[in-house]
């Protein structure tokens, strides 16, 4: 008696087109559910090697579970300009923009990238399903919105060696591909598109392809990437990298306003540190009037980086006779932050950065306490007892290498 032979394939957990390879590589057999797919938590028994692959070699991640939508038609630019906060009118063909989108009260629904594939064709990526929202806002416009989630497979190749690996496979060089731009090329005559994007804050690319070509592309990458240290990488390593890069994660760092249930769970782009994506100069977009008001009045909350100060942290452990208890993996449990005796915010993600050797976190803070350098107290449990330890508001990204944006001379 099992679901397997009862439910249709659609209803079961999905297997990505790379699953035939990834399942064999996954030594730990640790999987996470990601948007209805099985996704590797880590391929090896610990994720450290995978993390260092991202920062020193190249990590290969299956990102097929991302939701992908194609918007095409004469009014597709108009629709997207209505929908998202960034100015799509200035997005050139081949360019990619990272942007959130809001409800009419200016609260963030989701965030993702918009790729301009041609004058009148775009691809949107997102964490959660957004088809209904996009379609309902397309009413009366000459556009077609279609779900591309199952018709496009995707891999992320992230790390300093990623360009070299791709150059060794691609029919065209990637040397001139700029940060947040994309190109069409072929791998052994297989057409793929490559965007210089990622979720690690490092030099990296995302490769978009037909699912039928998935295994061939995987094999090519693994084969040609071997000399460059290509490493299949799971979500644990990614989580550490994205926190270092100061990148937010839906349902961890914020809740979609469409699912928030209560007002206080919703966040505006300003409250998520995404103020830079809100382009007030463009004509109109969903949420603009509310966001103008917020801009005027100031946001209640801010989203910042926090560093947990080492000496005091270490001392708490020393006091009970232990070495400092650093988290093994990135954590996602909301943790209170205090100013004196008052709770003024909470951290939503945190990790020990093995590269930076700093204990870092991303946190929501009442704006008054969010200034860089603000000294706060971070709640800690040491041997079952709560302690408060010093933490400071710092600039994000925590890690921002030059190679992320640069092109070879």
């Amino acid at each position: 008696m099992s679901y397997k032979n009862k439910f249709t394939a659609h209803t079961q957990l999905k297997m990505s087109p790379f699953f035939e390879r990834t399942s064999k590589l996954n030594e730990s057999q640790e999987w996470r559910r990601w948007a209805g797919y099985l996704a590797a938590t880590s391929y090896e028994l610990t994720h450290e090697n995978e993390y260092f692959a991202i920062r020193t070699k190249a990590g290969l991640l299956d990102i097929t579970p991302l939701k992908k939508y194609i918007v095409k038609g004469p009014e597709s630019q108009r629709l997207l300009d209505q929908l998202v906060t960034r100015n799509i009118a200035i997005c050139k063909v081949g360019q990619v923009m990272y942007t959130p989108w809001c409800d009419e009260h200016g609260k963030v629904i989701d965030d993702g990238t918009v790729q301009r594939l041609s004058e009148n064709k775009f691809r949107i990526t997102s964490a959660e399903p957004n088809l209904e929202w996009i379609q309902s806002n397309a009413v009366g416009m000459d556009v077609i919105v279609k779900d591309d989630s199952f018709t496009t497979a995707a891999l992320a190749l992230q790390g300093p060696n990623s360009r070299a690996i791709l150059n060794s496979i691609s029919s065209k060089t990637l040397d001139s591909l700029k940060f947040f731009w994309m190109m069409e090329t072929t791998f052994d005559n297989i057409p793929v598109s490559i965007s210089r994007t990622g979720y690690t804050g490092d030099l990296g690319y995302e490769i978009w392809m037909n699912p039928n070509d998935a295994l061939t592309v995987w094999d090519l990458l693994i084969d040609k990437g071997k000399p460059f240290g290509i490493t299949p990488t799971g979500l644990h390593a990614l989580d550490v990298a994205r926190i270092e890069a100061g990148l937010i994660l839906l349902d961890v760092d914020y809740i979609s306003s469409r699912h928030a249930i209560i007002e206080s769970r919703k966040s505006s782009p300003y409250e998520l540190g995404l103020g830079w994506t809100v382009k007030m100069k463009k004509a109109n977009f969903i949420g603009k009037s509310s966001l103008l008001k917020e801009l005027d009045r100031g946001s209640r909350w801010s989203y910042v980086g926090v560093e947990i100060e080492w000496t005091e942290f270490e001392k708490h452990y020393r006091d009970v006779g232990l070495a400092p208890g650093l988290p093994h993996t990135a954590w996602r449990t909301s943790t209170p932050l205090y100013f004196q005796n008052e709770q003024v915010g909470y951290a939503t993600s945190g990790t020990w950065s093995p590269l930076l050797k700093r204990y870092i976190a991303l946190a929501h803070l009442k704006s008054k306490y969010a200034k860089e350098g603000s000294e706060l107290m971070f709640e800690l449990k040491v041997e079952h007892f709560r302690k408060l330890t010093k933490a400071t508001v710092v600039k994000t990204p925590f890690f921002d290498p030059e190679r992320k944006r640069s092109c070879p001379k």
Binding site: M1, S2, Y3, K6, F7, T8, H10, T11, Q12, L13, K14, R33, G36, P129, N130, L131, E132, W133, Q135, D147, R258, H259, I261, E263
Partner: protein
Amino acid sequence: MSKIKKYDAIVIGGGHNGLTAAAYLGRAGKKVLVLERRHVLGGAAVTEEIFPGFKFSVCSYVVSLMKSNVMRELMLPKFGLEILPLESTMTPLENDYLIRTADSDQTYREIARHSKKDAENYMRFGPAMGQIGMAVRPILETIAPNPIRPSFSDLSATKRLFDHVKSLSSKQFEYLTKLMTMSSADFLDEWFDYEPLKATLSASGIIGTFMGPYSPGSAYVMLHHYMGDIDGAFRAWGFQRGGTGGVSMAIARSAEYFGVEIMTETSVQNVIVKNGRATGVSLDNGDEYNSNIVISGLDPKLTFLKMIDKSDLPSDFVSAIKNFRIRGSSGKVNLALDALPNFTCMSGDGHHLRGAISISPSYDHLEKAYDDAKYGNFSEAPFMDIILPSVLDPDMAPPGKHVMSCFVQYAPYDINEGWNDQKREAFGDAVINTISRYAPNIKDIILHRQVLTPADLESTFGLTEGNIFHGELTLQQLFSLRPAVKWADYTTPIKNYFQCGSGTHPGGGITGSPGEMAAKKILGAW
């Protein structure tokens, strides 16, 4: 007048609300007697071994709306309350199915198989309804104020509710208004496209009422079914181990623990009224019992028109009770099976049999079933809510055998030419034929079948017209108007006579709420 014994309170009817009221009074130290006409306790919430080895929740078959404070305060888990989760709802279709399971991601994928838009909306629908359920909760938990000559406490209750309503968001208020007034079909059309999903959701808007999914007002009944929670999870349905009677027995055991005396096979003839004041009850056998107060757990028609002499009641009240709409629309078919039914759309054994099976492929199916009833016939192809209790709890049937509970709509109480044995069997056949469309082996595996028409529900359980809610859940029969204006706070025009059945606010279902609130009202005034 052979026996004279004095109690603080006598409760007429050992249904779950009567028992709840009794338990609360007992808990407050009162000397309470419960009188039940049948040989079993529980009223509509009973378990009976109808066929040797096969046990049935004869009438009411699932639990969701039981108030958590009642469970806690009466210590029901200690007395045998054990609710097993119903994990899924499957809607079998001719060549396909729709299933919603406990895993929300899986439910998303399953609905997305039919409509992506619906799947996305469904993820927001549950929480939205839960929010409305929460918004309504304080209203349900307030003793309905008297709008005609409000007392100070009525005014302050009104003020509190007014403030509560003001605290709702515009969106909540909009949904609430719509749910109070619309048809469930129209309400769901605003959310979804896929017909079997809409029809199945709309079915909770017709259960227990004489309305179709297109009838305005059915959206409220749907909301009523969303107000339950088990362990804090809204909209969770469960099955009491050993059958629904187990819930009643747990309350009865709790009542006895608090010193309540319970007598079965003791039928009350009427309430004794002296100078406009209830002083006790007299039984069919001529015995009389005296008490300070009398509480009726029966429906409003029986509570007032049978138990009390009309001349003791104000005439406008009598006509209000006469005008109180109680319309029987549902039947129940209980089957003893040799094996499990085999559904064409999902054959064999499986998780899907651990949940509810809803015969609701389309609005048309439900509405046509209603049309039949509207004009005085049972539905040719009825709506059904089916569960297989023996899959959840093997003790319900002999090893390897099964019991199947089919809640059926519609079977009008006022059927053309009246109910008789032939009609009952024809009705049973219509049910089996409808099931066999989806599970063709059903006819071959039936060992016994029990068909209960609304007329049977009336004669067996004392439910007027066989209505499971003691009166339609229509807007004009809710809150301060249930069962009649001025008398919606569990009091009656007869001093010391109270009501605590589902015919009072907040209405039907195994909630324990009317019983609890009536007891609190009584104790507050004691």
